[in-house]
Symmetry: C2
């Protein structure tokens, strides 16, 4: 069993109170893959430009990530530049350069078309739909998006939502798409748009899960030193989806453990810049923090 | 064993998207007492004016709250008027009338002076200190405050913090007093001001607990219909402190259960205006929701 993730692979420039890093390997699919690989083989579907350093591709491969459908095209790699201030709850985007992402057509191998676990990380919903079209018989499909597509491609996004099992959104996106003030009401409204399961990421405040049968909140793991929040949501999604794919069962027990593993990997992600911390992690470290997290929740 | 709480008894006028209520029984000590009474006899120390309806006092007594030190003085009762909009995370204060509160000198009975569990709910820190002076040998003292005293009586507040075991604050107050952006760093800084235990209330995002030996976050109980958040923090504190006083032990296990009970009672509190919901509750309902809450946290 393995998992396929469509999203971005980017060169990130990030400034936080802890320093500045230039042209780091980043992007939704990179962060997702780095988290999900602890549970299941990950197939990454994305595009980079000619300027993309080949050592980044080697690095992803060394981490066990399958890059057969990581396309290199003529043009520049997608770049994002942002800053975090104060409580670092939200990024201030300084610059976005789409580059090769603007004309991206995902192509996957015949083997990948047979995959069952699909994560559509944040890219244009039309590109997400195209990838989903090429999958023969998906078993579990999860979707992430962002405010830009909610605003500019809402019709495509709403159509796509009817085809997925899980919608993963952050709190601002959930409120914007549902036009609700309370997150619980937002979750109920998003459920009505199609996905059976709604996962709302609240950053330092944890996660709200909602389905017809099960709803719960879980807190974030308290992080002593927040260095760079970039990719925390994608790391969460990687741990969450990776665990579910490995478990090969979606039920109350596996969903909660999946949220727990996602939470723990996201807590490591924010302790370093970019992929610094998650790329060096061991499953032993993850399990150790998971045990502490679970133990703290026993009343 | 019983508990003593100093704070306000008020007439609240509150407008939320669910309606408007005028001159409801409210105040920090009233909300606290209504929650704590499920665990332990509660002695309320507060002041009201001549205009205070005697049926409110009868009502508190019928709920088992000891009103021997609820003083009635010439002048008007403390009044608060506020509105909630949007996600209702913060109140917009329209009017505050201190009335008899401005010259309040708490006086308690000889029996009350022997009490061991003390909760100093939000009033002027000099009044809080005065009450604490009159307690012979307190066993567990907890303190709540608010932004007004942090700004205008910080010296008194800092002095008082050295005399208490537990400091209960909301997220904005914790950040303001500690001058930290992250709540975890705020908790660490507040610990250094004296109190061994720091409890940061994050509203719909739950609670962060911090001590040298133990730190954890717990989520709020997901509320389907948020009617009026007024008094949620005081209800939490009442459940928390009431449970600890009943348990007569402060350790990892009782602290977590106390946070859980506080969380559950606060979740009931916000489902109705003022004391509507908490005053009609049974311990059976509380235990039932506590069981659901605890169960949802098992990973």
């Amino acid at each position: 069993m393995s998992l396929i993730v469509l999203g971005t692979v980017a060169l990130d420039t990030v400034k936080t109170p802890h320093g500045k890093k230039t042209n780091m390997l980043g992007g939704s699919a990179a962060h997702f893959s780095m988290a999900a690989r602890f549970f299941i083989p990950v197939n990454l579907v994305a595009v980079v430009g000619e300027d993309f350093p080949s050592e980044h591709i080697d690095f992803l491969r060394r981490k066990g990530i399958v890059t057969a459908s990581l396309k290199k095209e003529s043009g520049r790699t997608f770049r994002w530049e942002g800053e975090y201030h104060g409580d670092m709850n939200a990024a201030l985007t300084l610059n976005t350069e789409l580059g090769v992402l603007s004309a991206f057509h995902p192509e996957i191998t015949d083997e990948q078309k047979k995959m069952k676990y699909i994560f559509l990380a944040n890219v244009d919903p039309d590109i997400q739909a195209k990838l989903l079209d090429s999958i023969h018989s998906p078993k579990l499909v999860a979707l992430d998006s962002m405010n830009y597509w909610i605003k500019h491609k809402q019709k495509s996004l709403l159509k796509l939502l009817k085809r997925v099992d899980i919608f993963v959104a952050n709190d601002a996106e959930a409120k914007e798409l549902s036009a609700k003030h309370s997150l619980f009401e937002a979750a109920v409204a998003l459920r009505k748009l199609g996905p059976k399961m709604i996962v709302i990421k609240k950053g330092e405040h944890g996660v709200l899960f909602y389905s017809d049968e099960l709803s719960f909140s879980l807190p974030a793991y308290p992080v002593r030193k927040l260095v760079d929040p970039t990719g925390a949501g994608d790391s969460f999604a990687g741990g969450f989806m990776g665990y579910l794919a490995k478990a090969q069962a979606v039920n109350k027990k596996t969903i909660k453990k999946a949220v727990g593993y996602g939470t723990v990997i996201a807590s490591y992600n924010v302790e370093g810049f970019g992929l610094e911390r998650t790329s060096g992690l061991t499953l032993k470290e993850i399990n150790s923090r998971f045990a502490a997290y679970r133990n703290n929740l026993i009343l």
